[in-house]
Amino acid sequence: MSTHEQPLRRAEVAPATEAPAAPDIAAEEEEDLWEGGIGWPETLGMSLSSLRANPLRTVLTALGVLIGVASVVALLAIGRGSQASITASITANGANLLTVRPGAPSSGGVRGAVGESSSLTLADAEALANPQSVPDAAFVSPEYSGNAQLVAGSLNLNARVTGATAVYPSLHNNTLAEGVFFSDEDNRASANVVVLGANVATNLFPAGDSLGQQVRMNGQSFRVVGVLASSGGGGFGSIDDGVIVPLNTALRKLFGARAAVGNSFSVSTIVIQAASSDQIDAALSEVEIALRNQKDLPLDGSGDTFSVINQASILATVTQTTQMLTLFLAAIAAISLLVGGIGIMNIMLVSVRERTREIGLRKALGAREGDIMLQFLFESLALSGVGGLLGLALGSAIALAVGASGVMQVQLSLDAALLALGFALAVGLFFGIAPARSAARLDPITALRYE
């Protein structure tokens, strides 16, 4: 029995016995079958209508993504806010600064503690101030700091006293709320004048009439010539809680800081401001070389008794640290977003199973695999998209509430919002593909009979 040949022969014969034009018409019609089909707006409408049919389930599923996106947005805003406030408090001390401190640098093995020997002197500062040895410096400001008991009338407090030169305010970005800063002339004359930090002024003179008043320190009387505006930034020994007197007054009259060796005075730090941010590195090496020459130290730096701290590198380190922290927090939040995505996948798989007969029917009525796939993908995308948008709103609200409470500074940003939303949609797409594909591949016959 030639069972294999028979169907072939008959299939060829059958159309020929019919009207001769039939094959052409059929071919044309087959071409035409590729045309048409459902458009995506209709498919989207079907997806949204099935989501509306199960409102509680839809809301609960979207909630997973909502919480994920909200935490990403809120944590990024808080992280960026903290970073901004830390950066602000560092740069509040002044820009492009190098600070020379006594004591060896700590890198490269165990060295003596910073400040172990009071090895910086006024003579060192004068050497650095020479434009030929440090051409990239704009200002050089030796500073001395100590503590003293301040007495004004019946009030007294212990405060940090900084001896500085007249360039101090321009170096450290300080402005005066009242009065003037002391002059170079006051410094040369070792005048008994003082500029109060904002908090000291309010504590010693609650009535706000500090200007022109006398403050006693170590048994000497100082006239208040100015009050600094509050610099805001809390950390890093804010000048708000201290007072400033002329350097010579501090060295000679207030603290008697004569150096152990040589005929000079000790200073606590020498602050150098580079002429521009591009010149910081150049200024740093010039300062090191100049100091080694001045102090007769080995030029390779092996015997340094001082260290130069670059403010820009501190800033970079702190920025990097806070960025890492922010990313870390956002990554944890992103994990919750991922969990939300798994929730979507779970619900979509349940939904495909529940609607097996509906899928079978749609296929019988002419839905192609791609149409079914798209319908279910739209559903998971809509779930994650709506969850993402609401999460964006909630996360922003949380961030703004935290910011308004004053506990932390926050910074909302468009790119973080778009990132979170994009990630949410990607999660919806990723976790929607498997259920959508299983729906699209259902056999219409078995799907229609599914109980």
């Binding site: 059958a14 159309p15 019919e18 059929a26 045309e35 209709e42 192609r368």
Partner: protein, 266 residues
């Protein structure tokens, strides 16, 4: 009359594990445009497999199948979907209406999958279709607000809305009582009289009687191809109007597994 369906040596073999099940073993027939044909046969006869092939839900293992001038046998899946959409109107035993949509929306659904028609035109055509089956008053009702007979009418309206070449009804009265069944078969007869080609798959002789031609399938082969008038005139011991045995009845409602050796001995 022109040929609507041309089936030549259709076979369909299912592979379940290592076992090959030959559901159809070579079935050939033609159905002319405007015919009303009933396909009958006991469970496991291959009747459902044949219906799936006629309905383009499945393709034959071998043989050729031509529907309305289109050679279906080896069409790609998306094209099969398009053929189902344009050429065939399905009516199922379980109605298969979408519960959350109104009658009108249910009827308009196939037009959405056709594409190219704006929504208001789709609904307009759906309304015409509902009026044709006598449900013009209940377009906004949800399926659960309709009786079984009305739901099946909605399903018929849905099948008609694409102006198909063929109406394919699979046990359309299986979930209906006798009186409603008669009404529904009257509707299908009316549609056939107005020119629609109707293929009916059923195991109920009372329903098959409405058709004018009977194709009886048994063991995957076409056993009889006769006008229904003759089928019931002849006192054939296998005539489908004879009361079924208790075992056969139980199997119809799915309580007994289909045992091939039993059928062979019968």
């Amino acid at each position: 009359m022109s040929i609507m369906i041309s089936a030549r040596d259709l076979t369909r073999t299912y592979q379940t594990g290592d076992i090959e099940v030959h559901a159809l073993r070579g079935v050939s027939f033609d159905i002319q445009r405007g015919e009303f044909v009933a396909i009958m046969g006991p469970s496991g006869s291959g009747k459902s497999t044949l219906m799936n092939l006629i309905g383009c839900l499945d393709t034959p293992t071998s043989g050729s199948y031509t529907l309305d001038g289109l050679e279906i046998d080896q069409l790609e899946k998306p094209l099969l979907a398009a053929v189902r959409n344009r050429k065939i109107g399905f009516v199922f035993q379980q109605f298969h209406l979408l519960a959350r949509n109104s009658a009108l929306e249910n009827v308009a659904l196939p037009l959405a999958y056709r594409g190219g028609l704006p929504a208001d035109e789709r609904l307009e055509r759906a309304a015409e279709s509902l009026e044709r089956v006598g449900l013009g008053e209940r377009m906004d009702h949800k399926p659960q607000e309709l009786s079984g007979g009305q739901q099946q009418r909605v399903a018929i309206a849905r099948a008609l809305v694409t102006r198909p070449a063929l109406l394919l009804a699979d046990e359309p009265t299986g979930a209906l009582d006798t009186r409603t069944s008669e009404e529904l078969m009257g509707l299908l007869t009316d549609l056939n009289r107005s020119g629609m080609t109707v293929v009916l798959v059923t195991h109920e002789p009372d329903v098959a009687r409405y058709a004018r031609r009977l194709l009886e399938i048994r063991d995957g082969l076409l056993q009889r191809d006769v006008p229904t008038a003759e089928a019931w005139a002849a006192q054939d011991p296998h005539a489908p109007h004879l009361p079924a045995s208790p075992v056969e009845r139980a199997r119809r409602v799915g309580r007994l597994p289909v045992a091939r050796h039993w059928r062979r001995s019968a």
